[in-house]
């Protein structure tokens, strides 16, 4: 190409350098260079002198600085970042679905579809971060709703989770030999019976000691009755198998009272956060889908004075949905566990996988559709351009 056109493309290249990626710059300059060349050829065919044709062709583009400005104004400065965010969002969706499906499969087995899919998934912070920040902001910046990418990620997440549930290394009820299951069930039943006994005795002692309502106020206290119950029912607690009830501290006489039932705060947290069953308190029997039978452990100690013991029984009693103590709740969870175990042991891995994936797919699909709608709305917001800053840089 002749000198004027060469000069023009070099100048244009210089103005674009550092303001767009090298690939874009290369293609832009090449395209404009081809345009000038074709225009020059046409003008020469019409009889114009080659130098005049060159000058006319580049004049139609205007000064290279203005051509660069126009080119930059036409570009969405947020496209690259927006695409990165979209991919981050998609990877986040895949990761969160896999994580949820694998680590919370127990909950999805135990909770019906509507409960898990419509309640627990929407409170998953990880999923909202992935979808919201990645996809919504990506849509805002790129002005596109990445529908295909989003649904592909959703499918990939579900397929990977299905693959793990079907062929993963975790032991499953389907792998359990029937005699193993019967042995485990006997042990669980024994634990459940002990829990019911503990719950009943606990209630009987805690009630006269002082029951606190949900506002933390004592609503009843009978000191004499409390002391009598501690003396008569306390030993019955001790008679329960040592794996369920233990005595701490050096004192061996005095007034029995509960202490350091360490699972309690965790149980509260697990229930509040996930509505989950408390788990892994004691021994695991069978590593079935990672979930363990909620074993009971009541820790007692001898207090020197009756008042100390009464205070201990009083402060450990709570009302929770009609239950007076956590052992009653524990018994409910144990029954639920055994009932579910009996049902799941009959299921194949494929059936378990399907039952896990159902609420996962349904719940995440609902959230995805919501994010799609929000993303679509965000694409309607005009881009913030960097026109003035680009102008200053080039000037």
């Amino acid at each position: 190409m002749a000198k004027y056109a060469d000069w023009y493309t070099v100048e244009l290249d210089g103005y674009l350098k550092g303001r767009v990626s090298d690939v874009h710059r290369f293609h832009a300059v090449r395209e404009i260079s081809n345009h000038i060349a074709e225009h020059v050829d046409e003008l020469i065919e019409r009889g114009m002198d080659s130098v005049d044709a060159e000058k006319a062709a580049i004049a139609s583009f205007g000064p290279p600085r203005n051509a660069a400005l126009n080119f930059l104004q036409g570009r969405n400065p947020w496209t690259k970042l927006g695409n990165i965010l979209l991919w981050v969002g998609c990877i986040g969706i895949v990761a969160t679905i896999c994580f949820t499906g694998i680590f919370f499969q127990n909950m999805m087995l135990y909770r019906p579809w509507s409960e898990y899919g419509s309640y627990f998934l929407p409170i998953s912070a990880g999923l909202w971060v992935a979808m919201g920040i990645g996809l919504a902001f990506g849509a805002l910046m790129t002005k596109k709703v990445a529908v295909k990418r989003l649904f592909s990620s959703w499918m990939v997440g579900l397929m990977l989770t299905a693959g793990y549930l079907l062929a993963g290394p975790e032991k499953h009820f389907a792998d359990v030999v029937p005699t193993q299951f019967e042995t485990a069930m006997k042990g669980w039943q024994e634990g459940h019976t002990a829990t019911l006994k503990i719950a009943k005795l606990y209630d009987s002692i805690a009630e006269p000691s002082g029951i606190q309502d949900v506002n933390g106020q004592n609503v009843a206290q009978d000191r004499t009755l409390a002391i009598e119950r501690i003396r008569t029912l306390g030993p019955q607690l001790l008679a329960i198998k040592p794996s369920y009830v233990s005595v701490r501290g050096k004192e061996t006489t005095g007034f029995l009272g509960p202490v350091d039932n360490g699972y309690y705060p965790y149980h509260q947290y697990a229930q509040a956060r996930y509505g989950a069953d408390p788990y892994r308190i004691g021994m695991d029997e069978l590593p079935v889908t990672g979930h363990a039978f909620p074993w009971t452990r009541l820790n007692l100690q001898y207090f020197k004075t009756a008042d100390e013991a009464i205070e201990a029984w009083s402060s450990s009693s709570r009302y929770f949905g009609g239950q007076t103590n956590e052992f009653s709740q524990m018994a409910v969870h144990q029954e639920l566990f055994m009932g579910n175990a009996k049902e799941i042991v009959e299921m194949s891995r494929a059936q378990v996988a399907f039952r896990t994936l159902g609420p996962l797919a349904g719940g995440t699909l609902g959230m995805l559709l919501l994010v799609l709608i929000v993303s679509w709305l965000l694409t309607k917001i005009p881009n913030v351009t960097l026109h003035s800053s680009f102008r200053r840089k080039i000037a």
Binding site: H27, A28, R30, E31, I32, S33, N34, H35, A37, E38, H39, S60, F61, G62, N66, A67, N70, F71, Q73, G74, R75, N76, T79, K143, K144
Partner: protein, 110 residues
Amino acid sequence: MAFKGDNDALILGVLAERALHGYEISKQIKLKSKGSLTLPENKLYPALHKLEEQGLITAEWIPQHGKPDRKVYSISPEGTLELHQQRSAWQTFVSNINSVMMDAKAKEGK
């Protein structure tokens, strides 16, 4: 008024017939409008790149024997849909203008 009357519609209109490269697009707009419409070169390529980013047109580099590769643009299915919408908006626009101007003309004639 709904019709935006912008360069995007003109570009989509010429690409609806066949795939073209940048210089030909500019020529076709001028040719089809019998010289009354021109799309300045410094506006053409920003418009093309914007349409490409929006997914309304697609582009590919076509190798040419003995010459530099040429970037050729084609209208996408989304672009065809957008063109239909723009055409509809344009027809509504023209119709509205006509109803005002023709009425005025008819009254003048009386």
